[in-house]
């Protein structure tokens, strides 16, 4: 039997077991009892509260205690109105085969606003109108404008953020049941970082206990680096790699609030750390590559209903590629934050500079930025690295600023900038002399500063050259045409 993650293993079975939240429990109990009695005040309830405070747990406990069959839909299951209509309406209007009533859970409805079309909200409202079974929705932030119609149609049940004491109590109990040696200051550390999110605290505890067999402050500090997710990303990654069955990997993917493409970056980053057998690695990458192709199609066509295929390929597809070296999946690996995401922010400035340099040069040589980046920049860089004097003349002629010069040659930037400034000063002197000339010419000079002032830098000269070349080549072009 597959081992259950602790968050599932220790999920409360009864309403009483749900930690704290006495007010929310009271409201919810009264509501569900009105359903059992057959005269519900409101047909739907909206459980609102921060991540990991017990919303879903309370729904499950309610279903369990009052004998409802739980029909659950995750945000990833309903991105379009038709999904909701198809699945939920059926569930809401029919009694189950067992004769038991159903409890419909629409998880994370606030995710809708950013994911899907407006149609989804209307579909939920329709569902509430026609349902013959209790409907519970959960949200981290139910106060979004878009959710107003849903708020109006449901009973609001507000959950509080759990206190550190609440979290610590649960962690200690799990350690006892799992017979894990656990230091009090480590428990304190985990509870502190969780910020009231019990689910992430349990996941953290499991990650450390699983990997090291004991839980000390030192290990916690070393291992638990990321804190801004409901489910720590490295945990999800580990769960995906460790999966032996497709459903495990898929489930793991649903237990994160990383966006699917972020999750793909996490898998991309850590895949070669976990899998070392070349054949397994290629098989896994082949699946990831296919997943990425689906992402490309999703982005370009907006068809979000392709998303499940991408997710299955990048989770289950990757996990089940481990064939030659099956033990590799259990290897303990210190997972890395995706370099791509780090690099993107770190190199943002550099990329913008590159674009600007390419634009300036492109204007001068009549080529697109793409052509400049591919064909021209490598050569310009050589000049800037090897011949500062020549580079300075180019820089002055092209009117490059200090940052651009630094981009082209970090080591020579200071020298080149100084020399270019020198050239500028001399050009300015010459311009000053020209002030004696008729006003019309001065105006023209003002309009074409680059060309006029670039004389020293050779731009005017180059322009002349280019013009001559143009004519000649044009001749050739026409010749070629007539020869044809």
């Amino acid at each position: 039997m597959p081992r259950l993650p602790w968050v599932i293993k220790y999920r409360p079975k009864r309403v009483d077991d749900v930690v704290n939240q006495s007010e929310a429990k009271a409201v919810a109990l009264k509501w569900i009892k009105s359903w059992v009695a057959g005269n519900p005040v409101k047909k739907a309830a909206l459980f609102n509260g921060p991540p990991g405070c017990g919303k879903t747990s309370l729904v499950e406990a309610l279903a369990n205690e009052f004998g409802y069959e739980l029909i659950e839909m995750n945000a990833s299951d309903y991105r379009r109105a038709t999904d909701i209509e198809r699945i939920a309406k059926v569930a809401a209007t029919q009694r189950g085969l067992t004769g038991r009533g159903k409890l419909i859970l629409l998880d994370e409805v606030d995710g809708l606003s950013r994911l899907a079309d407006e149609g989804a909200i209307q579909a939920i409202l329709d569902l509430i109108k026609i349902t013959k079974n209790p409907v519970v929705m959960t949200a981290n932030n139910a106060w979004e404008q878009k959710l107003k119609p849903i708020r109006d149609a449901s009973l609001m049940v507000n959950f509080r953020r759990l206190t550190k004491t609440d979290v610590k109590r649960v962690l200690r109990r799990i350690c006892e049941l799992e017979r894990i040696q656990c230091d009090e200051d480590a428990i304190n550390f985990i509870a502190e970082r969780a910020e009231g999110d019990l689910r992430s605290a349990i996941n953290d505890l499991e990650a450390v206990a699983e990997g090291f067999g004991r839980v000390t402050l030192k290990i916690c500090k070393a291992v638990l680096r990321y804190r801004d997710r409901v489910y720590a990303p490295y945990e999800v990654v580990r769960k995906i790699f460790i999966s032996k069955y497709a459903w495990q990997a898929r489930q793991a993917a649903s237990q994160t609030d990383l966006s699917p493409d972020e999750l793909m970056q996490w898998i991309n980053e850590n895949l070669p750390l976990q899998i070392t057998d070349p054949e397994d690695l290629w098989r896994a990458y082949e699946k990831l590559s296919r997943a990425d192709v689906f992402f490309g199609r999703i982005v370009r066509s907006g068809s979000w209903d392709l998303l499940p295929y991408a997710i299955e390929l990048m989770t289950a597809g990757v996990a089940l590629s481990i064939v030659n070296d099956p033990k590799a999946r259990y290897k303990w690996v210190k997972y890395q934050f995706p370099q791509k995401i780090l690099l993107m922010s770190r190199t943002k400035e550099m990329r913008q500079l590159r674009e600007r340099v390419a634009e300036v040069i492109g204007r001068h040589i009549l080529a697109s930025k793409r052509k400049v980046k591919n064909d021209v920049l490598p050569y310009i860089k050589i000049i800037f690295d090897r011949n500062p004097e020549y580079a300075a003349r180019l820089a002055a002629g092209l009117n490059l600023d200090e940052h651009m010069i630094k981009y082209l040659s970090p080591q020579n930037a200071a020298t080149i900038s100084k020399m270019a400034a020198e050239i500028w000063r001399e050009t300015a002197k010459e311009a000053l002399k020209k002030h004696a000339q008729p006003a019309k010419e001065v105006r023209e000079e003002a309009r074409l500063p680059e060309e006029q002032q670039g004389i020293k830098g050779g731009v005017a000269e180059k322009k002349l050259r280019r013009r001559k070349k143009r004519k000649e080549i044009k001749g050739k072009g026409l010749d070629a045409f007539f020869k044809k």
Partner: protein, 296 residues
């Protein structure tokens, strides 16, 4: 001829890079309108946004605007037109018909087959051929004279061989070599080596040796420092895979080339270049392992 008559049809300039297509278009406009020719010309290249919306707004606005008294027509210059989507080209075709009285289009493309038929049939097509060796060398020599740079005949020949008749590339190489002192064969090869990162070959070699993680780091470095796109790298890898510097059995070269083609296709289809290239490196690493096994 067009200049003398002050009239011309829509034009399509097609041919390999560096043969003077863009230059010819600018020269033509310059000869038609004089020094301020850019006032009468709308110029859009691949750096500019030119999807269907831009064609319908910006280009249309320009194409239908009133004609200044002194000129016969305005020009819309679409450089790298083969990068435009088919939709945008369809929209363009309508404009070419509607405003032909006041606006002429010059389209520039490496691959005329990527320009939709109806546009091709509305244009006079000019095929630009790769420049002849003696023309390129004469040109390079002339530049060297102007710039008072010493150059060897052998070096200029080497430049021509490397750039395959691409004038832009030739002049780039010439200028960088000159910046190293003088234009000699040694300097030319040095420049080309520096500009076309050996890292690509090294990356393939590292993957073949089975060090996937290091190869991936090299890939990231190429993308970050050189700013190369996934397609650029795939194309360079394709060139390298047939290099004698890499010790691979001949049939394996074809297998890899096949897979490189597949990956290039997926880069176009997909969302993340690096993932596709990692897949390629993983495939090469796997090949490396099976080659080593055979040797034993």
């Amino acid at each position: 001829m067009f200049v003398k008559e002050r009239n011309m049809p829509h034009l399509l300039f097609a041919g390999p890079p560096g043969t003077g297509k863009t230059t010819a278009a600018h020269a033509l406009a310059h000869d038609l309108y004089g020094e301020d020719y850019r006032m009468y010309m709308l110029e859009l290249n691949a750096s500019d946004e030119r999807g269907i919306d831009v064609i319908r707004t910006k280009v249309k606005e320009f194409a239908r605007s009133k004609l200044p008294a002194n000129i016969p027509f305005k020009i819309v210059l679409l450089d790298e037109a083969d990068n435009m989507t088919a939709d945008a080209q369809q929209a363009l075709r309508r404009l070419m018909e509607m405003y032909v009285e006041v606006t002429r289009f010059i389209l520039i493309a490496n691959y005329p087959s990527k320009i939709i038929e109806p546009i091709q049939s509305r244009c006079a097509v000019f095929r630009f051929v790769p420049l002849k060796k003696e023309d390129v060398i004469a040109r390079l020599k002339w530049i060297c004279d102007q710039e008072k740079v010493k150059c060897d005949e052998d070096a200029l020949e080497a430049i021509y061989e490397i750039s395959e008749g691409d004038m832009r590339r030739s002049i780039n190489i010439l200028q960088s070599s000159a910046a190293l002192g003088e234009v000699t064969v040694a300097n030319v090869y040095k420049v080309v080596g520096l500009a076309h990162p050996r890292e690509v070959r090294e990356m393939i070699r590292t993957a073949l040796q089975g060090n996937f993680l290091k190869a991936r780091d090299m890939l990231r470095n190429l993308m970050a420092t050189y700013g190369l796109s996934g397609t650029d790298i795939v194309k360079q890898m394709h060139r390298e895979i047939f290099s004698s510097e890499l010790d691979i059995p001949e049939p394996a070269r074809i297998d890899i080339a096949d897979y490189i083609g597949e990956i290039q296709f997926r880069i176009v289809e997909g969302a993340d270049d690096e993932i596709q290239l990692n897949t390629l490196l993983a495939r090469i690493a796997m090949l490396g392992k099976s080659l080593r096994r055979k040797q034993k």
